[in-house]
């Protein structure tokens, strides 16, 4: 069985809005944009609650990826939560595996397992391990947590899709700090050389890595030029704009002969004032008091958005 694009509870996405960013791609209807924003809001709440309950984990890079993950799971990707190993599914690989909370939230909210299980993150015996574990969690394609590795596995998955003439696409999310790893660039060469146009990379450019800011660690910009020079088709989007993300993902699907890298400009800790751009919240859980404040801020932003929309 095949679930159409996005999750079972999503409305169909026919109807075309204004012009897309290229001729073949249609702009998203306003209602769908609102829905995806609501999904991202929900993922953020889940992430914060999970990490607080676990008393450890990585909120910053989970929050920066919320719209990216929401757009993939609730709009772009085809999969069947009741049959997570359905061979025709699109594959999502979280190469920046420390952002596991946002992946688990998306998997739960798309019906891969009960939402209540999110509260068991990192607990002994839980199937929600500190980093994604393909042997334990339905919907986790590849075990990650060692940066750079998931990106290579994505090349292999895309290559297999080519060898089999399969229709699935492979999506892989990396971090801007993760781009430090040499393995990323080995894989970048491979994907372009082998014309893996069934592969879409997304890089969460939130400007921070573990210790501090990316720019104070290793100068990584110009990121777009780097991927272009490696032979990739590159799109540069606001990583918190679900419309831009959805359109870029559609453009990637239409792009033939080259892999696409979507450079997503984001804010680490997005949505929570004291986490935004704060290296401290790369790998630290909020206190229960901080959680209350954070959820309040998310709620306020949401009602403003709803009032405005």
């Amino acid at each position: 069985m095949r679930i159409g694009r996005g999750a079972p509870n999503d409305q169909s996405m026919e109807n075309a809005g204004g012009p897309g960013i290229d001729g073949a791609v249609k702009s998203l209807p306003e209602a769908l944009v609102r829905q995806l924003e609501e999904h991202a809001y929900r993922l953020r709440r889940d992430v914060l609650e999970m990490v607080t309950a676990a008393r450890s984990g990585h909120p910053g890079g989970s929050l920066s990826s919320a719209e990216i993950v929401a757009t993939l799971f609730f709009h772009t990707m085809r999969f069947n939560p009741r049959e997570p190993k359905w061979p025709g599914r699109d594959r999502f690989i979280l190469s920046k595996g420390h952002a596991a909370p946002v992946l688990y939230a998306a998997l739960a909210r798309t019906g891969h397992f009960p939402v209540e299980e999110l509260a068991r993150l990192r607990k002994s015996g839980s199937h929600l391990q500190g980093h994604p574990d393909q042997t334990r969690t339905p919907g986790v394609e590849v075990s990650t947590g060692s940066l750079g590795q998931g990106f290579s596995v994505a090349q292999g998955a895309a290559l297999a899709g080519k060898l089999d003439g399969a229709g699935y696409r492979v999506y892989v999310l990396i971090g801007d700090g993760e781009m430090n790893e040499g393995q990323i660039w080995e894989a970048a060469l491979f994907a372009a050389h082998h014309k893996l146009d069934n592969l879409t990379g997304l890089v969460d450019v939130n400007g921070l890595q573990n210790d501090t800011f990316v720019a104070d660690t290793l100068i990584t910009e110009p990121i777009v030029d780097k991927w272009r020079a490696f032979g990739w088709h590159v799109l540069d989007v606001d990583g918190h704009d679900v419309r831009a993300l959805a359109e870029a993902l559609d453009v990637a699907t239409e792009t033939k002969g080259r892999p696409t890298m979507i450079v997503c400009r984001t804010v680490k800790g997005k949505g929570v004032s004291f986490m935004e751009n704060n290296p401290e919240f790369h790998g630290k859980a909020p206190t229960p008091e901080q959680l209350a404040q954070a959820l309040g801020e998310l709620e306020l932003a949401r009602s403003r958005r709803q009032a405005g929309g």
């Binding site: 391990q129 993760e178 573990n210 210790d211």
Partner: protein, 323 residues
């Protein structure tokens, strides 16, 4: 039970990585040749402390463990004493060939000091739990390999590493470690410490398992069994004399480590025993990849507690009696 005078009653202490951070600051003042590198984990490995004090001699090379080791080797080749740090899963995990070709083979003066080793790395799960790093580093000929039990041992092991000319690996933990030593300025690479005297059975341990071994010796003492406890803080070069003496004098051994059985301290000891003085040995070690969990839960689940060590000692004694 007779304990060495260096030993204090087991009390809560700092993590070994904290002692490393403090030792680096002390060493930095003494020796301008010391340069410290980290692969984007300096707050966790505590090299950031050195970075705060000596910013000109500290480099966060980014999330680049292979390059980390190459840079360290280059620094060493030009007269520096290069300390390189990350988590044990990533270094040596991610840079074995670099350690082999540009550090071990040329005997470069590089000190790889890896933290968050072993099972109890918080709740991060198996990708973050190094249970094979001692095996990797033992396999690299010429590396000194040390597994300090507590902050005092880690502090002096770091000093010894700086003084030793050639490649050194030090394995550190994330969690606060039980304080075993009052003082340890007599620390010597390759010289095991008899932390508890005994003649019935010997428990050889390192890292967090030293405190567990001392506790196990206390349990056995109540039963009338006098267990010797050796802190085998150096795995390479192994204190062969201490192992042979323990074997001939007590006739039964337990080796306890927070590491896989394959390639660990237990196998190093077993080889020496097999060569020099065969005796029954029981092994307390991890036997499967890790999972997320709290330290106490994990140690219990993976059979790495004092009770597990004591049970292994009883088995070893049993086998000795049957010979």
């Amino acid at each position: 039970m007779i304990v060495s005078e260096r030993i204090r009653r087991l009390v809560p202490g700092a993590a070994t990585r904290e002692a490393y951070g403090n030792a680096l600051i002390a060493l930095g003042a003494e020796d301008p040749r010391i340069v410290v590198l980290d692969a984007d984990l300096s707050v966790s490995t505590m090299t950031a402390r050195f970075g705060g004090r000596y910013p000109d001699r500290f480099f966060n090379v980014g999330v680049c463990e292979q390059n980390l080791i190459g840079i360290a080797a280059g620094l060493a080749a030009c007269g520096k004493i290069a300390f390189a740090s990350s988590f044990a899963v990533f270094a040596p995990g991610r840079c074995f060939d670099q350690l082999r070709v540009v550090v071990a083979q040329p005997k470069a003066n590089v000190k790889l000091v890896a933290s968050h080793a072993g099972l109890i790395t918080g709740a991060d799960g198996k990708s973050a739990q190094a249970l094979e790093d001692v095996a990797l580093m033992r396999a690299l000929h010429g590396f000194v390999v040390m597994v300090p039990a507590d902050e005092t041992c880690a502090f002096w092991a770091t000093h010894a590493a700086a003084r030793h000319v050639g490649p050194v690996y030090i394995r550190l933990g994330r969690a606060k470690a039980v304080r075993v030593y009052d003082s340890f300025d007599t620390f010597e690479i390759g010289r095991a410490v008899e932390v508890v005297e005994g003649q019935d059975v010997t428990i050889i341990a390192n890292g967090v398992m030293v405190a567990a071994a001392i506790e196990a010796a206390e349990m056995l003492d109540v039963e009338g069994v006098r267990a010797r406890v050796l802190d085998m803080h150096t795995v390479v070069p192994l204190d062969r004399d201490a192992v042979v003496r323990a074997t001939t004098e007590t006739g039964a051994l337990v080796v306890a480590e927070e590491h896989f059985l394959a390639g660990g301290t237990g196998e190093a000891v077993a080889r020496t025993v097999a060569e020099a003085a065969p005796a029954p040995i029981e092994f307390v070690a991890a036997r499967d990849y890790g999972i997320s969990g709290e330290a106490d839960e994990l140690l219990a689940q993976y059979h790495l507690t004092a009770a597990d060590v004591a049970a292994a000692a009883r088995r070893a004694l049993d086998r000795k009696g049957r010979r």
